[in-house]
Every structure is written in C-alpha cells, then in structure tokens.
Symmetry: D2
Subunit: 412 residues, 4 copies
C-alpha cells in the first residue's frame, strides 16, 4: 500500500499554527522561486525589533501563515455547503501566498524615500504577472481573485478586506513574536463563523463578540506595536538616513550593494517599476541586508549627518520622542533646529535631518472599506458598527491622529 | 548547608500559572481547614460545564489563583517603592484566599431559592470570623482589609474593585477552562502597571490599552459564557427544581442528604446565617454533591414536576431558550403554559415550573463602583471612561438587558 | 446561497484543541444518549484532583477529544492516499467515541471492590451492543473495529494500540488539566507521521524522536501523576471504604443512592454484567456523585472504620505513604496494625482497613503488546525498541515495580 | 507616595517568559553598550531558519532570557534559605548576561574558517575584561563566577554546567521559535527543585523525572534541530564559501565590509584575539549582515565556485545530504568529485568546494562534565545516570556519531 508521493508535499514548522502544509506542486514551485525566497530576508515589522526583540519574523513566514488560514477557510466554507472548485481553492490560496511578494525591505520607509511613485501592491501584481508568464498562465485565476475580478467575489474578500486572511495572520503572528499577547485573536472561531451572503463574506451573529474582539485587538496592536513611539522614531530616522544618502549619492563610496545604489541614484518618481528592466531586477534582489549593511558602512562615513544617523540606529541610540494630540508649535521646532546646529556643528539645512516631526493616525474600523457584515438567523445583514449592542464600534470609525516630534536625546 | 524546612511550604500545580506557592504556615493551615477544603467540591461556574465541558474548575482553585496574583501584586508594588509590611502582605493574601469561602454550591441559584436573605459575601465574613476565633485573632488584619476598614485602602481594592485579583483570576481561569480564549487577559501586564495614588489603586497611562482589553474581555465572557443562553436555561431549571422540592419538602423521601434537607425545610428568609447553629453547620457541609445527587434521586420521583425537571438536567435535555431585547408578551406566555398543561398533564399552577421567563443584564464597566484610575506622567488621574482616547468606554457604562423565555423543547 | 444545515452539526469548545466538531447526526445522537451523558459525571482521573486540583476533566471530554484526533488521523491518512471509505471513517470515529462508555466512577477502584468479575472494556462492548440494537445496526462496523474484527486492522490500531488516539488524547488532556506540562505530547506531529504498512500502523522514520518523546512523556505521567504516591493513598483509602461498606452493607442506612446500594449488596463476582438486568440498569446510572455523596453521608456514620475513612477522604486528611523498591517486612506491618488498634480503639480485624500495603508497576513500553513500528525510506520496518539509536527503549520494556505502605498520619 | 524611579528600570517583552525585567543600572548600561547591542544582529541558530523559518531569534534575546532565569533561580535559592548576597546576585546575573558576548556571526562556522585559533568563550572573557575596565572594576565578581574562581562555586554552575541557565533558556527559546514543541522544557519545575549541597548544585529527588525529560528534550533538539541534516548542509556550504573567499581574498573586490575583509585576509591562526587591536575592533563590529551581504554580492562574482555556492545559499538551493552511521567510501566521494568537475566545468581542486563530507556527534549527557546531582531526602547524592530507575541515562552517555555527505542536487 505505500504510495508514490511527490517530494513537493512539504511541511513547514510554524510556532503559531504548529504545521503548515504545502498543498500542491504549484505552491511548492512558487515558494522555491527566488522572488518568494527573497521574502525570507524581509522582516515583517521592519525596525520594530528594536523595541520588541522577538519581532524578527519575515514576510515569508507571514505569507505561508496566511496561506494556511486560507486553506482552513476554504475547507470550512465547503463543509457548510458553499461550492468552491479545486481550481478556485488553489487560486485563492496562491493569491494570498503572493499578496506581499512586492514588499521591499522596510517597506513603508522606502516608499517614502527611495522608491517613490509605486506602491508595494502594484509591484506585487507586477511580479505575479511575471510569475504567471513563467508558469504558462497557471496564475490567471489567482490574479483575477487578487485584483477583485473574479465572479465569486467572496474569494477576493478572503484575500483583502477588513477581516481577511492577511490581517488574521499578521495580528496573530505579530502578537506572537512581539509577546504582546493581548493582540492575539481567535482566528479559529472567526473562520468557523464565516458565511457567504450575496457573494460577500459575512459572520454569523453569534460570532459578533469575536469580531468586536478582533477590532479591539487590532486597535491595541496599532498603538502598542505598529505605531509605538520608539518604533516611529526608528523608522523616521531610517527615512532621514536614506534621504540624506540619496542627496549625497554621487559621493557615496561604492561599498554599498548594487541594488541599493541603483535606487539611491534614481531621480524622481517611478511611473511604474518596469519602466526600466534594471529597476525590476534590482528590486527583486533588494532586502533588509542591503539597507542595514549600508548603515553599518556609513557608521564611519565622512558625511556627518549620514554618520550620526547611522550610528544612532546601529547602536540603538534612538531619538527622544514627544507625542501630542495637537501639532507642535513652529517656534519649538525652530528652537530645536537651532540647538541641533550648535550642538552638532551642522548647517541649518543639515539640521533638518536630525529633527523629525509628523503625524500618524489610525482607524480601528473603516466604514468606507469593505465592511464586516453580520448575518442573523432570519437572513438579514447588518454592518458590525450597527450590529454591536453596546461596544460602540461606530465610535471606532473616526480616525485617531497623533503628532510626534523626535530629536537627539542629548538635547532633551 | 541543607536547611530545616517546614512541610507546610507546599506547591500546587496550576495549569493557569504553572505553580502556586503557599507562602507560610498560616495560609497552609487555613487551606487545610474543612471550611476551605469544601471549596474543592464547589464548581466555580455551576452548570456552565453543560455548555463548556471543560468548565469544572472549583472555587478552591480560583481562591488559590487569586492568592497567587495577590503575592505578585504585592511584590511588584514593593519593587516600585510602596511600603507594605510583612503582616499587611500576609493579611491581604489571606483576605483574597478566603474571599469566596462563604459561597455555596450553585451559589446564585441557591440564594434565590433555598438560602434566601443572606448573601455569600456576608457568609464569607461570618466564616472568616469563626476562623479568626479558632486562630486566636490571626485574621484580624485580613478581616479589616476584607471589610474595607484598613488604613491602606489600596489593599482592600486589590481584594475588591473593578480590577481586583478576584476578577483577574476568574477571567483568566474561566477563559482557560472553558476554552473561550478571547476572554484571556494579560494579568502580568496589568499588575506591572499598578500604582498607588492617594491610597487608591491606579494604572500607569501606558497600560490604558491593556485595561480597555480587560473590560472588553470581561464583557465578552459575560455574554459568551456567564450569561450564555443555554447556561441561563440550565440554571433557571435548577431554580425551578429547588423551588418545587421546597414546596413539597414534607413528602420528599429521606434519601437526600441532611444539609440539603435542612435548607429545603427552612421556612422564610434567614436574618443571618448563624441565627441557628445548625444552619451554619449544615451550610459548611453543603456542596455540589448534595444538590446534584438529589437530582439523580428525584429522576424517578413520583412528583411529575420534580421528576421531569430532574431528568431534563441530568440527561441534559435542556429547555429551549428565546432571547429578546424586549419582554415577551403575556399572551405568548399564557399560550405556552396552556401547552405545557396539555402536553404534560399538569395543573395550571404546576405548569409554572416548566415555563421560565426573566431578564438578565450586565454592565461592562460600572462608573459608580470603585473606578479604574489612570495615572499620567504629570501625576494627574482620570477615570478610564474618560481617559480612553477612542474606545468609548463611557458607552459601556450603560447596562445591557436581555429578556429570556425557556420551555421544554418538545413544545418548540 | 445560505444552506439548510442540521442542528446536529454541533461544535464543542475544548481548551485542549480549541474546537471539536461533531461530524454527523449519528455521532450527535450517540452523544445525546444518556449512556454517553453519564460520562459527564465521571472524572477521567478519579481522586487525582486531590493532588492536582485542575484534574477534574471527565471521560465525556476525553471521549470527544479522542474522536477529534481520530478525525484528524483519518484525514491525514487519506491525504497520503490510503483508502478509507466514508462508512469506515464514521465507524472508526464511533468506536473511539464509545471506547470508554463502560467506565464506572473511580473505575479501577470499583473493579477491585464492588464490581468484581467484569472489566470496563467488556461493559463498553455490552453497552455498544445495546446502542447498536437501539440504532438498528448502525454500529455494526464500529463494533467490528472495536473488537479487532475488521479487515482494515489498522483502524483497530487507531482505537487501541500503544500509540492510539485514546492514549494521545489522555496524555495531552491529563497533562493539560494537571498542569504537568512535561507530559504534553505533540499529537500533531505523530499523526503527521502515520503510515500504513501491511494493514498495520507505522511511523515514518523521521518521526522516531517524537515517538521516543511520547514514550518518555507517558512514563513521566505514570510516575508523576497516575501513580503519584498521594493519589495511590487516596485511591486505596477509597477501596477500603467500599470494602468496609460492602461488609456492613445490611446496616447501612438507606440514605445512599439505589445504584450504589445495589452494588454494595451484590454477593460475589459478576459473570457478566447483564446476567441481571438490574445490574446493567443501575450501572448505567452510577457515577461519581453516588460514590462521593456516600462518603459525605458516612462522615457521621456510627461504624468507626467507615466514619474515619470517609472523613479522611472528604477532609483530605490522607494517609502517609512510604514507597520502597522492596516489599515492607511483615513485622513493620504488624507493628503498625497494633498501633492502629491502640490509637483508634479498633479490633485487629478492623485495623486492616487503616493499613494499606501493596505494589504498583508500570511498563513504559510493552514489547508484547501491539508494537510501534518504524517505517524506513527503503520500506523496511523496525520495532521502536530496536530503531532508536540510543535512547535505550528496550530498557524501558522492563516493568518497574514499587511497593507502598499507607497509614494514618497520626501514627507517623 | 509616587516615587522617583530610574529610567533604567526597563522591561523587555519576551514571548517566551512574558516580561524580562532589567534589575539595575549596571545591567542597563551593559545592555546599552555597543558590544551587547551587536548581539541583536547575531542569530542564535545561524542558518537554521532555512529549515525552521521562525528561528530568527538572536543571541541578544537569549542572553536576556538566561539573565531572567538566573534572577528566578537566585530568588528561589534564597527562599530556601541559601545565602546569596546582593552583590553576588548581581554578579551571577551579569556573568550569564555576558556569557555569549564573544559570539561571532554563524559562530561555529567562522571558528572553523576565518577566525581560527580562538574560541568564542575566550573572546567573551576578553570582552568582559574590556567592559570591566570601562566600568571601573564593577565586573570583578561576575568574571570570577564566569571563570569558576568564585568561592560559591554553585554560582558558576548556574552559569555553566549541564543544567545551567544558558541551556535552559536556549532549549526553551529554540523550541519556541522553531516550533519544535517537544523540545520545550519545564524550567519552572527544574528551578523549583534546585538545591545546593557542598557548594554544588543538586536537584531534589522528586525532580528526577523533570531532569530526565530535560535530557531527552535536549537530545531531541540536537537531532531534530541543531544537527538537522539540511541545517548541516547549509552550514557546511557556508564554510566552503568562506574558505573559498579566504583563498581568493586578494581578488575580491572591495564591496565587502571592512570587518569581514579583515578576517578574510588574515593569514594563519590567532594566538589571541587582542594580539592585534584591529582584530578586536573589527570583531566587535562583525555580525550576520557582514557575512550574508557578502553572499549576496558574490551571487554575481566571476569566480565560479564562489558564485555557485553563494547563489545556492541565497536562493536556498541547498545541497542534497546523505546520512550514514559509517563513513562513506572514498570511491563514492571520488566519483562525485568527478561528476562535479564534469557538470560544472571545474578543476579537481575546485570540485572539493562542492563536495562536503564529515561527521557529527552528540552526547545527550556527558558524565565527564559537571554532573547532574540528585539529592535524596536522607541527604545522599547520586549522579542522574545512576539515580534514574529505568530510563537508562547511562546509555545516553555514549556519543552518537553520524557521517554525512552533501553535494549539489543536480547530481543526485
């Protein structure tokens, strides 16, 4: 009875779910591809590990986890009698597996500095199309789901909506690796409550508390982790380094890697990433190592701004952060800039690199985005913000905005 | 170097915290006392295990768990520089260890049926006083803390308030044993944020998300577990059995245990439990075994009402439950009563035992009770319902009320 | 698209696995049956909770858990290409669901005292046959699997062997509820390694360390939990109570329940439980409540032996235990008996009830029982005790025997 | 009552233990030092994440975790009455905090290739001495403990022995992040069983099963993780890259970082690392980024051997591995070398870089190293290998050796 089995039925160990099964050869081959392997070298949470030292997990692991949840969701929907063909199941699974393939290192940071004009979502689609060509059209249906062009639109919602497999995995995973256990959500229960109504996802009414919990956990993770003030400080310091490096790129010695050098020297915004075949090639090689190794190299660079910022990140001497619900007065900022000039012997223009100010905001629940529908026993549907009997989720629909100001600790 | 050590330094295994240490001989001797051992035979959540089969944990284990958290809280407060003497620490720990010692089996059910006029809190105090006499006044300070008569009132808040060791342990423990993981709270983090301001407990401002999470988790546990409609049904069925048994107590054969027989035959309300020395003696023997074994005996009883209800609980053929945000119309109830009379050949008066109607309500956060104070870096204090920037906890301060109607499934 | 769904597709919450799904109506109806509901009132580990206070979980929960693992095992074997029909899957699942249905309260204790001559295994089969009659033969195949009369014998091994779903669930569950985390096993990994060779179960060679771990964990649970010396003491005290009650059963007042009274009055051994229809009826009503409530009643009984033992168990004043690798000398026992007579004013014959001596032994791995086969890549098979490269599992095949002696602490 | 508190009382989030407290300012300042911050950039398990994608945790986090266990161990020993002064406690804690400070990136790999002649232990001591100078002798006692020159030798055992805080943390942590849950050990229980006898550590006899479990878990982690065949393959491929890079270092373009370039150009062995002040300076800058970024640069290098190996690691096209209990015949190796020459058009000498052969071995328990003592109630002491009643730990004292052979998959 022992049976011929493909060597491509691999199992990954995952501390979050135990085991993750690779369901078929196409998944296996996509995972083996260098585009996907690159995600092993891109941390899910950028510099967050400077605050939560366990947060070193990668987009590779997250993508596998989201795929795992998708397999479960499809199985549960099928058990409830919703028809999903084998090919649709594969396509939905591949769509979520590849949803982050366009992410670069320190993604939000780079998109605001050296890779402007294109988002990681459009790059994900571009790379999926390249893979589709290499795999002779095997990803057609996955791309239809990813771009919300599939007749069963609930499959697209599983990939992207306010309660999709992406969010469920990243909340569980980020909570797990940071150790912020309050962010853990009960994905099993939410998945068990999934229904499809009029081609859209819905949640059974008895799952309403779990959805509320999900929204509250997500909000907690935003303020406690993703927008943690020290993380904000580190990320904005990295932006400043990259902006400085871009400004002085001609004089940067050629120690840094080719992919990073390419993007530092790029003038202006991209219209699309494949406007230049080199851009796509270098992008698909760019990872955390290129960026952080550059910081290590610039630790001793003659440019004082570049050097000071690089040292501060490498040695984790992060800037002091102040947070406020209103913007900081210009006089305060001017005074700080002046202090920076004096203390570090910098020009007025250079001092801007050592003063960070900005704002950040978060919606716990976006009523304009794909809504979370609650399905009642009588077949009626309500949005979660109306369905909740008390936890006033409608209150959570207003964005919260916070202003921040960061500067070297020595000036505090 | 090996050292004489008391055999009374015991360690309990606890799946929730790992290990629970008994800190000294007085604790050990109190735990050994038959008053406290009785709590081994009283389930924390009464009949909830009929819905969540793991929920068999006892008030014994909960009391040890709350004591464990108290030890940690005291240690953390001392580390922060708040002065707590060794005797105060012992007293606070004993106050929480014994806070539930007056609970009877299926406590809320019995208080509304056969043990009327006294609450478990007053019985806890009574039993503590008896123990204090036996232990020659060693519990004086514990009683002062328990009754909020201690100069360091924050110690009383650790025993009883909206964020006390009791709640923290029961939320963690009930979540753990039911498997409703969303109810799990991060006690470690909340304890780490504890401060004392003006003799009252407060929480550091950076712990605000954890407190919000605590309130939301508690609310979720209420609706998902404590007030779960099938649990409500089972508990009200038990009330009906006990009321029926009380009504016909003279004809109940003497199979049932003496403690239960005593309370079934008691006429009217207690003024206080020690008005009759027998009452106290029998109460201190009464546990889940007396009550549930009576149901097993009444399974074959000639009184049809007693028999039907007992069979329904023992075999878990629980009543159908309907829930509504408004009360059910009297005509509906009358029609159901008529059906019951017909179907079961019961008199109109007897039919009342098979129809249950009532209401239940819950506050997620009571602004009138001891408030949850948030302490800011500038030393100012706000109530959590004002401090939260978005999660409108003030909304949670209104009670939610639900009406229920339960009747035999055969009539549904 | 919303779909008619049976109300019988229930989900149980389980803190061990998260959720347990009831796969079909037959399972649902069997679980609802009073035979199966009785298991809710039978603790898996008898009096073990006197040492590990969390160990209150029931045979009901264990049976559901083992069924859950069976569902997973079948799914994984099918994924590997082994043919299992839908009806076989249902049958295997029901066989494991009902494998413990013949267990009585404090099972091992009762089998050695008041229910002699029949084992719980034979009673399980008897009750399955009764259920089969009620369900018109729907359990035929389940019974074939349970009795090892099914052509696919590997299905019988999943129900009963040294690495069956029963053991996997009870090790995980007992470890979970006692808090002895070292007993936790990785059921997921072992299940993922299952293969079928020549109609027998085998484990892929790369799972060898997990199997070793399983055997070591099981051994640890034996000595740390199942044969814990205080648990031994409590269980043997309960045997002594029951033996005493049996001896003096005519004078026992009729407070105790009918099922227990029946078995106390039974003379001699059973040949089979259904030799007397009353025996089967009463057995199917007997649970922990009958036995422990009797102890509470006997707490004040005029018979001194019955009273002393009952008080000691109820108030948890357990006997002192001594353990030795050799038997205790008769003189030692005689001296203790004499002390007991003097101290408690008992006759020589009565003193035997307060002195417990005996031995206990455990095999970590039984080479004579259904072996654990390891499957190598070349298709060859070895027994685990030969396959392990170093952990000398063959050493674990010898039984370890320990002698114990228990007596009232006052004599220590 | 609010109190002046140092900003240096920091708390780290840790998914393994929840929270880790920094006990005092000296610890804080050492953690802030760039020597210690470097450990943030050195993964505990090198390339193991290529097999277990979660295994990205760092020596930084492990060092904090081991410090956390040390704090607990000291607290528990003090509770048992063993005298440990405040300064000794601080010293032991610092000794374990810094025990890995001399580790380089991919430590075992580098010690066999480009940093020969000095072990990470001697470098740890060297760096501790430098820190001691900077901190004006504050580390004198910590160094005495680290070097086993302290009168309370049990403190040195807590830092280094077969059951030290280092091992306990790494087993727990590696098990946690790999997801190999069978490697998890119950550190709490082992710590609770610690005693001191004749200035040496011992374990109470009732902890014997936990110690056995610890040894078995460690053995499992060795074979399942540390010596996993694919990990072996990756690590030996990295060795080959570095050896090749060293051989052709003059022609390596200057893209690689200065610290790595220094060590690649070093001729021969070090006598001691501070024989050259540059060596120490560069070593204290060297981390995973230097090494892995070099692989990314060499991905396109003209040297074919360097390029092939670098591509294979970066894209995770790892060599096929064969394992055997006996060495592989020379003819087999010669044939493979010949195939490599043909397939890749390499010289005979170059082909050696693409063929890896070697052996690996592991002791589960070393009887020659600091033994694990079991303390009996009568005060006697036995080595664990004699104390265990059955699990033949003496069998585990023999080393197990396995031979391996790795080569490009294309030749398989």
């Amino acid at each position: 009875m022992p049976i011929e089995r493909s060597n491509k039925k691999k199992i990954f160990n995952d501390p979050v779910y135990g085991f993750i099964n690779i369901p078929d050869e196409l998944h296996f081959d996509l995972i083996e591809h260098s585009y996907f392997q690159r995600l092993r070298r891109i941390k899910q949470l950028g510099l967050t590990h400077l605050v939560y030292p366990g947060a070193l997990h990668t987009r590779f692991h997250h993508s596998l986890g989201a795929m795992h949840l998708m397999q479960q969701a499809i199985q549960l929907l099928r058990n409830k009698g919703y028809a999903i063909t084998q090919h649709e199941a594969q396509a939905a699974s591949i769509a979520i597996l590849l949803h982050d393939i366009g992410h670069g290192p320190y993604s939000h940071t780079l998109e605001q500095t050296i890779i402007q004009g294109v988002t990681h979502e459009t790059i994900s689609l571009l790379l999926m199309q390249r893979l589709n060509a290499q795999f002779h059209g095997a990803l057609d249906e996955a791309i239809a789901i990813f771009t919300d062009n599939h007749p069963k639109s609930f499959l697209s919602r599983l990939v992207s909506s306010q309660i999709d497999m992406d969010r469920m995995d990243y909340l569980k995973r980020d909570s797990f690796f940071t150790g912020v256990t309050e962010g853990n959500i009960n994905a099993d229960r939410i998945l068990a409550m999934l229904e499809v109504v009029d081609n859209e996802l819905a949640i059974e009414a008895k799952g309403i508390y779990s959805v509320e919990k999900f929204i509250v956990a997500r909000r907690l993770m935003y303020w406690q982790v993703y927008l943690h003030k020290t993380v904000l400080s580190a990320e904005h310091m990295l932006m400043k380094v990259l902006l400085r490096a871009k400004e002085i790129s001609p004089q940067l010695v050629d120690k840094i890697t080719d992919p990073l050098a390419f993007f530092l020297q790029k003038k202006g915004q991209f219209k699309q990433l494949d406007e230049d075949e080199n851009a796509l090639k270098y992008y698909s090689q760019l990872d955390d190592f290129d960026v952080f190794t550059a910081l290590k190299i610039w630790y001793n660079h003659p440019d004082k701004v570049l050097r000071l910022l690089s040292q501060a990140i490498v040695d984790r001497q992060l800037f002091k952060v102040e947070i406020s619900t209103t913007d900081f007065p210009e006089e305060r900022k001017d005074a700080l800039r002046k202090n920076i000039c004096n203390h570090f012997k910098l020009s007025a223009e250079e001092s801007n690199y050592l003063l960070i100010s900005g704002k950040t905001s978060n919606h716990a629940y976006h009523p304009q985005q794909a809504r979370i529908n609650i399905l009642y026993k009588d077949g009626s549907i309500k949005d979660i913000s109306e369905a909740s009997d008390q936890l006033n989720i409608s209150v959570l629909t207003f964005p919260v905005t916070k202003y921040f100001l960061c500067y070297p600790k020595v000036l505090a």
